[in-house]
């Protein structure tokens, strides 16, 4: 006997993500999902961005990691509220993990929650978390061919950050090729050149984010 299911494979995750989205909208909290390879500079860029924004927003960071607590400790050390999620081996965050992390946060009092996803350019893509926007951080030492090798993640990004531009002189990184590679996949996402280390470009990117965080907060008032 044939049984017709016609449902998304990730329906369970999609449903939980939709619930997260409703919850975040109700409290006027913007959720930013940060995607990148291991070591591209997610934690450093998050900290530089939040330092630039100062006290303009009430912020928390959710750190996704396969096993350690290092990044959450680093965030807390800068005086920012942080929750650690250990995925227990999974190479990406899923909506139910984020839901539990949101339980641990005073959402009514937060304007912005930053989700540092597990360092991976493939696995997180299909898992909606209920985020308001997704950014991809690529970094100069990884090479300019990342959009050619991992097209999907660049295709779904709302913004792309090219980090570690301070290291450009050391690497043969062709920025034109990188930009063209991103454009071929994604016509809309702005590309920000940043250095989380020197602070170069962080302001421009942070203002892009701030505009969207304000819009979400305003919509809930």
């Amino acid at each position: 006997m044939e049984i017709d299911l016609s449902r998304p494979i990730l329906e369970r995750n999609d449903t939980l993500a939709a619930a997260n989205r409703v919850r975040l909208a109700a409290t006027g909290t913007f959720a930013l999902d940060v995607l990148a390879s291991p070591g591209a500079g997610k934690t450093t860029t998050i900290l530089a961005t939040l330092a630039f924004l100062g006290d303009r927003f009430r912020v928390a960071v959710i750190e996704g990691d396969i096993a350690s607590r290092v990044d959450a400790e680093k965030v807390k050390a800068s005086g920012i509220m942080a929750v650690q999620i250990n995925t227990g081996g999974a190479c990406h965050l899923e909506a139910d993990m984020v839901s539990r992390a949101l339980d641990a946060l005073p959402l009514e009092e937060l304007d912005l929650v930053v989700l540092e996803n597990v360092g991976n350019l493939v696995c997180p893509i299909e898992f909606d978390l209920g985020q308001s926007a997704r950014i991809v951080i690529a970094s100069v030492p990884e090479g300019d061919d990342k959009p050619l090798k991992y097209p999907s993640i660049f295709a779904i990004a709302d913004a792309v950050l090219l980090n570690k531009v301070d290291a450009a002189p050391v690497f043969d990184f062709d920025e034109t090729a990188f930009t063209q590679g991103v454009r071929n996949l994604n016509g809309a996402a702005p590309i920000f050149r940043v250095s989380a280390k020197t602070g170069e470009g962080i302001g421009e990117w942070a203002e892009w984010l701030a505009e969207r965080v304000k819009a979400v907060r305003a919509a809930s008032l």
Partner: protein, 120 residues
């Protein structure tokens, strides 16, 4: 991903009172990061000891297709380039190729279990 498929179909099969899952059909878009061969491999690893043991996983692949927001033409494309092939615009929107669906399953019900065995 494979575990999600297995959980969903096991639940559906049990709900229908099935004793065995013979085959499963899923649709995987070319623009997703899911590799059908990897799914097959995982299927063989995860199904033993479940209702789907020995079942066939049929993967229907859909190609990438987008519509141009500037010239409104539709065009086919691979994972690596989404630019409009007519006017070169970057402002395009995917209309197919990003599917991840469980379509249907074929099961044996308790009463036709002998039937199922005859079919192999």
């Amino acid at each position: 991903m494979t575990q999600e498929i297995l959980n969903a179909i096991t639940q559906a099969a049990e709900g229908a009172g099935a004793t065995r899952i013979n085959s499963v059909r899923v649709t995987i878009g070319e623009l997703t990061e899911i590799v059908p061969d990897a799914l097959q491999f995982a299927w063989e690893a995860l199904t033993p000891g479940t209702l789907a043991e020995g079942s066939v996983l049929e993967v229907v692949e859909t190609g990438g297709r987008s519509i141009c927001l500037d010239c409104t033409k539709e065009f086919s494309h691979d994972r690596f380039e989404r630019r409009c092939t007519s006017c070169g615009s970057y402002a395009t929107k995917v209309i197919s190729g990003d599917e991840l669906l469980i379509d249907d399953i074929d099961v044996d019900l308790a009463e036709d279990a002998s039937d199922g065995e005859a079919e192999g």
